[in-house]
């Protein structure tokens, strides 16, 4: 961090200024002139929070993708299918048992097992053949998408959030000040706050595991040099299996999350595959902090675009990606190899 500041003083200044302006926009009541220019503060705050929550969801999907790619160079274009499968399974579990929380471990294990099967039966046979992996996973995603359509049909499902998370929660952020002096605080759905917190906790836990445990050390060593790790006596295939199962399970759990605060329908798999592609391209391949940053940027740009320029919100995402590609092809936090 300090290295970045000393190397790029101008950029640090610009970023610091942007963060300061953002914080000011969030925490102070807006003057009337600003409200006239870009609308009510409540709309802006909702867009910001919606963007952060969407970013959290994107992070859950994309972190598994980037971890798998970073460690094994495995290109899993069936990642979106794992997301959708997890969502449907979670829907079934929570419908049958009535427990939303129970769906998470069940889906994590089931989709994780499927991930292990994929790694063991598909990817291990074509290590290093990226193009073939791409083709096979594309074929798999076509197949899985059609089987899911077969089982669950074309209608869209929404997973009901549990009672203790339904309804709004009040945040200590001022939305508007009424003329009589009453201060109105921002209300936001509790389930989305829970999702946001869960994503932060998972991200932090991943960072802890990667940086503070021996398993994390193995994974980081594998990211840097797979062959040397294998040569020093580690059974890399087991590490690969664990990481693949974890990434797949994460995508499955993200499916429950996405099914709770959005909906599940055919086509969501490609949407989330593309979202994770864009997120990891922007953030940098194989980097967990990069995935977090990219997910935040893409989520914010999508919702802010939806609020302030509804027609072209998708194009903003694309423009960000193109700009990153043009000026920093390895991604914002990616490393050149």
């Amino acid at each position: 961090m300090r290295g970045f500041a000393s190397r790029h003083p101008i950029w640090s200044l610009i970023i610091a200024l942007a963060v300061a302006v953002l914080l000011w926009l969030i925490f102070t009541p807006w003057p009337p002139g600003l409200v006239e220019a870009i609308g009510r503060k409540r709309i802006f705050l909702n867009a910001i929070f919606g963007g952060i929550t969407l970013g959290a969801l994107y992070f859950l999907v994309a972190s598994g993708f980037t971890l798998i790619f970073g460690l094994m160079r495995n290109v899993n274009l069936a990642h979106g299918s794992l997301y959708l499968l997890g969502g449907y399974l979670g829907f079934e579990v929570s419908e049958r048992t009535g427990s939303w929380l129970l769906a998470f471990p069940v889906v994590f294990i089931l989709v994780g097992l499927l991930g292990m099967l994929l790694q063991h039966q598909v990817f291990r046979r074509m290590e290093g053949e990226e193009l073939r992996q791409t083709m096979v996973t594309i074929g798999l995603s076509v197949l899985i998408a059609d089987i899911l359509l077969w089982i669950w049909g074309g209608q869209s499902y929404t997973i009901l959030s549990p009672d203790f998370l339904s309804g709004p929660a009040e945040l200590p952020i001022i939305s508007t000040v009424r003329s009589n002096g009453d201060i109105i605080y921002l209300k936001y759905p509790a389930v989305r706050i829970a999702i946001l917190i869960a994503a932060i906790v998972i991200g932090f836990a991943m960072w802890l595991v990667l940086n503070r445990t021996s398993l994390g050390m193995l994974i980081r060593a594998g990211v840097d040099d797979r062959e040397m790790l294998g040569a020093s006596g580690i059974r890399t295939q087991y590490v690969f299996l664990i990481v693949f199962a974890f990434g797949a399970g994460l995508a499955g759990m993200a499916g429950i999350v996405g099914g709770t605060f959005q909906s599940l329908s055919p086509g969501e798999d490609t949407r989330f595959l593309l979202a994770s592609l864009v997120v990891v391209i922007v953030g940098g391949m194989g980097s967990i902090p990069g995935a977090a940053l990219g997910a935040l940027i893409i989520g914010l740009s999508e919702t802010l675009g939806l609020v302030y320029a509804p027609t072209y919100s998708v194009v903003f995402t694309f423009l960000i990606m193109a700009a990153v590609l043009a000026f920093r092809p390895q991604g914002l936090l990616g490393q050149t190899r």
């Binding site: 074929g139 077969w150 592609l277 391209i281 193109a322």
Partner: protein
């Protein structure tokens, strides 16, 4: 190796070649004649729906094959480039949406459509060549998705979700080109043209340099070739073929909508190119024929086996999966492998490859 090459070149030059027709292999004649007289044996449905569609999809997949096979860049943008060409025909030509279509004559809107699609493909290519391998696939896929969503959202140019309908080819020389037989010959002519242009370009200095860039970009850069320029130019060239395919596609369907360039369609082009074989220009057409046959007849076959006709995607996905799992080079790869196996000596085990025979023969 260099000796052999020089020897083969001098042999080719010194051999008393007759007229060029003599050099055309027999199976070219057979296939050409079958194609030429197809309207005699095939009915309208086969001509228009099966063969017309095969040639069009084959051309779009051919542009992908050119990039992937000769340039080493697997680009998923080709369907979007084709759709841009189709959209431009609808926008600058005539369509059912009279508010948005400009109604220019055909000799104006066809070149405009090709040029606009070419520019689009070149810009995407310029972005995509900054990356390599799997990154190219991801980036072109993401841009293709962005184009799909953009076209779906934009009502001022692309007419949003509905797109354009009643886009028909011009009545040239008093022929209705949308009738099955004229359309068959129209698509056949352009498919043949694009096939031979690709074969020709692959042998020009540009094509050879492109293949050099595919095999070893650093060495080519060290030799003084501009690697990036070659790659971007390859995108430009491929975009022209894809654009022609897109224009024919919009004429065949008489309509274009964002779904034409949706993610499934984009993936289908890759599937077609891979099924056929991505190393030779004939591969995409074989792949397109297989795909169109499956797409057209698999509902009937599935129903005959007592399954729901909607499951044809499962069939295609499963077939594709099995094929890429066992033969990365598609049907052509299977064919070559089968031929090699047939040549193999049952006692000695080792097969005589054609390359060995050539070297031996010329060195003597």
């Amino acid at each position: 190796m260099a000796l052999v090459d020089r020897a083969s070149v001098s042999a080719a030059q010194s051999s008393p070649s007759g007229i060029w027709i003599d050099k055309v292999p027999t199976y070219y004649w057979v296939i050409g004649l079958i194609m030429l007289f197809m309207p005699v044996i095939a009915n309208d449905f086969w001509l228009f729906q099966v063969f017309g569609w095969t040639f069009i999809l084959g051309m779009i997949a051919l542009s992908l094959m050119f990039l992937a096979g000769y340039g080493g860049m697997v680009s998923l943008i080709q369907m979007s480039v084709a759709a841009v060409g189709g959209y431009m025909v609808a926008i600058f030509g005539t369509s059912g949406i009279t508010d948005l279509s400009l109604g220019l004559p055909w000799w104006l809107y066809v070149p405009i459509a090709i040029i606009v699609a070419m520019i689009f493909g070149t810009i995407v290519g310029a972005l995509a060549v900054r990356t390599e391998g799997i990154y190219t696939i991801m980036i072109t896929l993401a841009i293709a998705a962005a184009f799909f969503y953009f076209a779906r959202q934009n009502y001022h140019i692309f007419n949003g979700y509905t797109g354009f309908n009643l886009v028909v080819p011009p009545q040239l020389f008093g022929v209705d080109w949308r009738q099955p037989m004229p359309f068959y010959y129209l698509t056949l002519a352009f498919a043949l043209l694009s096939y031979f242009v690709v074969v020709y370009v692959s042998r020009t200095p540009f094509g050879l340099a492109l293949q050099g860039v595919r095999d070893n970009p650093r060495r080519m850069a060290a030799l003084g070739f501009n690697v990036t320029a070659h790659r971007v130019l390859a995108y430009t060239f491929a975009s022209v073929i894809a654009a022609v395919g897109g224009i024919l596609l919009v004429w065949q369907n008489a309509q274009i909508s964002p779904g034409t360039a949706g993610i499934p369609a984009v993936i289908d082009i890759l599937v077609i190119a891979v099924i056929g074989g991505i190393r030779k220009p004939i591969g995409p057409f074989i792949g397109a024929f297989i795909y169109v046959l499956l797409r057209t007849f698999s509902p009937d076959v599935l129903t005959a086996f007592g399954m729901s006709g909607e499951r044809f995607k499962t069939l295609i996905g499963l077939g594709f999966l099995v094929l890429v799992f066992f033969s990365p080079d598609g049907v052509l790869g299977l064919w070559e492998r089968w031929q090699n196996r047939r040549k193999r000596d049952p006692l000695m085990g080792s097969g005589e490859t054609p390359g060995d025979r050539d070297v031996g023969g010329r060195n003597v």
